[in-house]
Amino acid sequence: MKSKILSVITILFLLVTFVSSVQAEEAVYGGTFVDTVQTNFGEIFNPIQYESSYDSQVIDLVFDGLVIRNSTGAIVPNLAKSWDFSEDGKSITFHLKEGVKYHDGHELTSEDVAFTFRTMLHPDYTGVRYGSYSSIKGAAAYHKGEADQVSGIEILDKYTIKFTTEYSDATFMGNMQRGILPAHLLKDIPVTELENAEFNSNPVGCGPFKFAEYVSQQYVILDAFEDYHKGRPYLDQYMVKKVATDSVPVYLKRDEIDLVSLDNKEQFEELKRLDNLKGFTRVSEAFRYFGINQKHPLLQNKNIRQALAYGFQKEIILQILNGYGVLANGAIPPSSWGYSEDVCKYEFDPVKAMAILKEEGYIDRDGDGIRENENGEKLSFDLNTTSQDIRVEISELFQEFMKQIGVEVDVQLMEFNALVDMLVDSKDWGMYIMGWATGPEPDMSWIFHSNAAWNDVRFFDDYNDKLLDKGKSTMEREKRKEIYAEWQKYISQELPYIFLYYPELTTVINERVRGYNSDNTRGLLLDEKGSMVHKIWIPKDKQK
C-alpha cells in the first residue's frame, strides 16, 4: 500500500515537473529564422506577376490573401473574416477584417481587393493569371476592352466586396488566396508597365513580414511586421538564403540554416539523426505518372494499356525511392478529402497481361521475343524521359518488365524543355514519364478534361468530361466526394495515365525552432488556421 502511494506520488511529481517544464517553454519574441532556397529566385516579388514558383516562397510571407488553405486543405478566413454564398452559388460576398494595415501603414479596404483582381483581368495585363479568374462575370468583356468595369466585382462598402461568377465553380475559392496588392501604390502605374515596376523588387503587402533587403542571388531579409492583423510575429527576422545543394549538410551542421527540404534521401537519413536537427516527411500533393498517347496506333487500345499496367510491378519503384514515396493509383493525393481507394489497382499479373495481349491478336510470330499482330506490326513504342536519375531508372525497369511480356519499349532520354515541346508538337510519341503538382483540390479538369490545356495525352472522353464538370459545379463537399470517387474509378479503368507514385517530401528543421506544426500534414508552417509563420519562435538562449 505504502509503495503504491509512493509510486502515485512519484508519478504525480513527474507529471508536475513535466507539465512545468512544458510551461517553461513560453514563446518569446526575437531572433532570425533562416529558411533556404536552392535555386535562383525569378526576382519578381509580386503575386500577380511572378512566374517562378521560388518567388512565391517570399510572396507568401509579404502578402496575405482574402482566404487561405489550412493544414487539412480546407479554405479558412484570412483577410476576409467571413463570406456568404448566394442561393445559386454563383455570388460570394466577402466581409473584410477592419483595420488591416499594409507595411506602409495604409489601411486595406475593398478597393485594394477590387484593384488586385481587376488588374489581372485588364486588357493590358501582361502576366499569366487571367485564366484563373476568367470565370468572373464580365471578365471576358472587360479583358477584350468591351467594358469599362468588371460586372462580377462589386464593392458594396469599404469592407464588403462581392464576386459573381458566370457559372457555379467550387474551385473558385481556391483562387481567392491570391495576395492582395496595395492599390494606393500601384494604381497610377500603367498596367503594361507593372511587370517592370520597382515595386516588384521592393514589395509592400499586408503579410506577416515586410520586405527589408534583397541581395540578388544571395538572400532576402524580411522584418517582422508590428501591425500584422493576426498579431506581430514572434521572430524579428525571416531570412531566405540561397544555398548550394551540395553544401546543405555543412550549413545544417554549422547551425547556419533552420529549414531546408532535401531531395537526397540518404543525406536526410544521416542528418535527421544529428542532435541539432529534426527530420520530417510528408506525402506530397503531386503524382508521377506514365502518360500514354491516346492517339497512338497501338496505345489507343484500352485493353493494351491495361495489359501494360498488369505487366509492370510498380512496387519496385519504392525500392528506387528508398521507401520515400507512396504508390499511386489515381491523381488525387491521399491527403485530399476527395481521395478514393476504390479504383482498379492493376496488381502485378504478367500472365493476365499476356493473355490480354494474345486476345488482342498480338503473338510472337517470328520468334524474336516481341509480339506482333497478323499484319506483322510489332508491339513496340517509345517511352520518353528527362535525364533525372529516378525517372530513368523507372523507365528502364518498365522496359525490362515489358520485355518479359513481349512488348518492346524504346527508352529515350531528353532534356525537360525538349520533352515538353515534343508532347505538344508531335503526335507520334508513345509514352512519357512526368509529374503533376496538384494541391489538395480534387478538381483535375485542368489536366484531364477534353478542353484542358495540359491534356498532353489527348484523352477525349465524354463521360470523363461530364464527371469533371459536375464535380466542379457542385458546391456541397459530400456530393463532390461521390462524384470524384466515381471519376477516379473511371479514370483507372480508361487508363490515360499509368499512375506511379506520390513522392514523399523530406524536410529538416533546426532543433532550436519552436511552435511549428509537427503533424506536417501539409507542411510544418501550416495549422488549422492557415499559415502559422507568425507563431514560430526561437528560445532566447538560442537566438543569434
Binding site: E51, V128, Y130, Q217, V243, A244, V250, A418
Partner: protein, 317 residues
C-alpha cells in the same frame, strides 16, 4: 602597328554580326521555350501563355525577331531578361561582373604566383625526384574536376575546421571588404589551384626550351654566375610565351566559372549565363554570348600585341 590594330578592330565588326546571327538562330531553333516552366503549372491556361508570348514578341517570325534584336542591340539596348526580375540586361551584367572579376583575378594571382616558381624549379631540376613528383601532382590536378576540389575545400575549411564561410559573397547584415575577403578565399583557391597545373606545365617546357639555347650556353661559358644566367637571361625569355597566355585567359576571366560559382553560390556571370541557357532566356543568352565573343577578340588582340612588346623580332605590318 597602328594600322594593324585598326585593321583588326574593323575585322571584328562583320565577325560579331555573323556570330550574333548564328547564335540567334541556334538558340531559337533548339528545342525548348522560355515559358516552358509555366506549362507545368496549375491554373495557368494555354491562353495565358499565348498572350504572354504575344507580349514578349515570341510569336514573330525568326528573322523579324533577329532584325528587332540587332537594331536594338546596335543602339546599345539589349532588352530585358525574360526571367530574373525582368531587369535590363545591361544592369544584370554590370551587377554580376564585379563578383566575377574579383574571383577570377584572385584565382589568377594564386595560380600565377604558384605556377611560375613551380615550373621554373621543375625545369631546372629536370628528371629529378622533385620534377617527377611535381609532374605527377600536376597531372592529378589537371584531371581533378574543380567541383570536387571545391567540395573538399568546403569539407575541410568550413566543416572540419569551421573557420571560413560555406558559400555566398557576404554575410547577411555584415558586408565590408574583410567579410567579402573571407568569402573569397575558398572559391579563389578552388579555381586557382586548378589553374596552376596547366600554367606550370607551360612554364616548365618554356624554361626547358630556353636553357638549352645557345645564348644560355654562351652566358654560362663566359663565366656568369648561375643565378644571373637563370634569372636574368633564361627566366625573362622563358616568360615571353607565358605572357601571351594571359591574353588568352581574358575571356575566361569574364565568363566566370559556372561550376565553382554554383558550389560556392558566388553571384557571378557564370551563374547568370548558365541559368539563362536552362531557362531559354533568349535576350540574356544573346547578350552574354556577344559579350564573351567580344572578350575573346580583345584577348586575342592583347595576346598578339603583347608578342610584339615582349619579342622585338615579331612585327605586324
Amino acid at each position: 602597328m597602328q594600322s594593324y590594330i585598326l585593321r583588326r578592330i574593323l575585322q571584328v565588326i562583320p565577325v560579331l554580326l555573323a556570330i550574333s546571327l548564328v547564335i540567334f538562330m541556334i538558340i531559337n531553333l533548339a528545342p525548348g521555350d522560355p515559358l516552358a516552366n509555366l506549362k507545368q503549372t496549375k491554373n495557368i491556361t494555354q491562353e495565358d501563355i499565348e498572350q504572354r508570348r504575344e507580349t514578349l514578341g515570341l510569336n514573330d517570325p525568326l528573322l523579324v525577331r533577329y532584325f528587332n534584336w540587332i537594331t536594338n542591340a546596335l543602339k546599345g539596348n539589349f532588352g530585358r531578361s525574360l526571367q530574373t526580375g525582368r531587369k535590363q540586361i545591361f544592369e544584370l551584367i554590370v551587377n554580376r561582373l564585379p563578383a566575377t572579376l574579383l574571383l577570377a583575378i584572385s584565382s589568377m594571382i594564386i595560380s600565377w604566383a604558384l605556377a611560375i616558381p613551380i615550373g621554373v624549379y621543375s625545369a631546372l631540376n629536370q628528371y629529378s625526384l622533385a620534377d617527377y613528383s611535381i609532374t605527377v601532382l600536376i597531372f592529378i590536378g589537371l584531371s581533378l574536376p574543380s567541383f570536387f576540389f571545391g567540395i573538399i575545400l568546403i569539407y575541410v575549411f568550413a566543416l572540419k575546421i569551421p573557420v571560413l564561410p560555406i558559400g555566398g559573397m557576404i554575410t547577411p547584415g555584415k558586408g565590408g571588404p574583410l567579410d567579402i575577403f573571407l568569402h573569397l578565399i575558398l572559391p579563389a583557391f578552388a579555381l586557382g589551384i586548378r589553374g596552376i597545373a596547366s600554367l606550370a606545365r607551360y612554364m616548365r617546357s618554356s624554361m626547358l626550351e630556353v636553357i638549352n639555347e645557345d645564348y644560355i650556353r654562351t652566358a654560362k661559358a663566359k663565366g656568369l654566375k648561375a643565378s644571373i644566367v637563370i634569372y636574368k637571361h633564361a627566366f625573362r625569355n622563358a616568360l615571353i610565351p607565358i605572357i601571351t597566355i594571359f591574353g588568352l585567359q581574358i575571356p575566361w576571366l569574364i565568363s566566370g566559372s559556372i561550376i565553382t560559382e554554383k558550389i560556392f553560390t558566388w553571384p557571378g556571370m557564370g551563374t547568370l549565363s548558365i541559368n539563362a541557357v536552362f531557362a531559354r532566356d533568349y535576350p540574356v543568352i544573346m547578350a552574354t554570348n556577344m559579350f564573351y565573343a567580344l572578350m575573346v577578340f580583345t584577348g586575342n588582340l592583347i595576346a598578339d600585341i603583347s608578342y610584339v612588346i615582349v619579342d622585338p623580332r615579331i612585327r605586324y605590318d
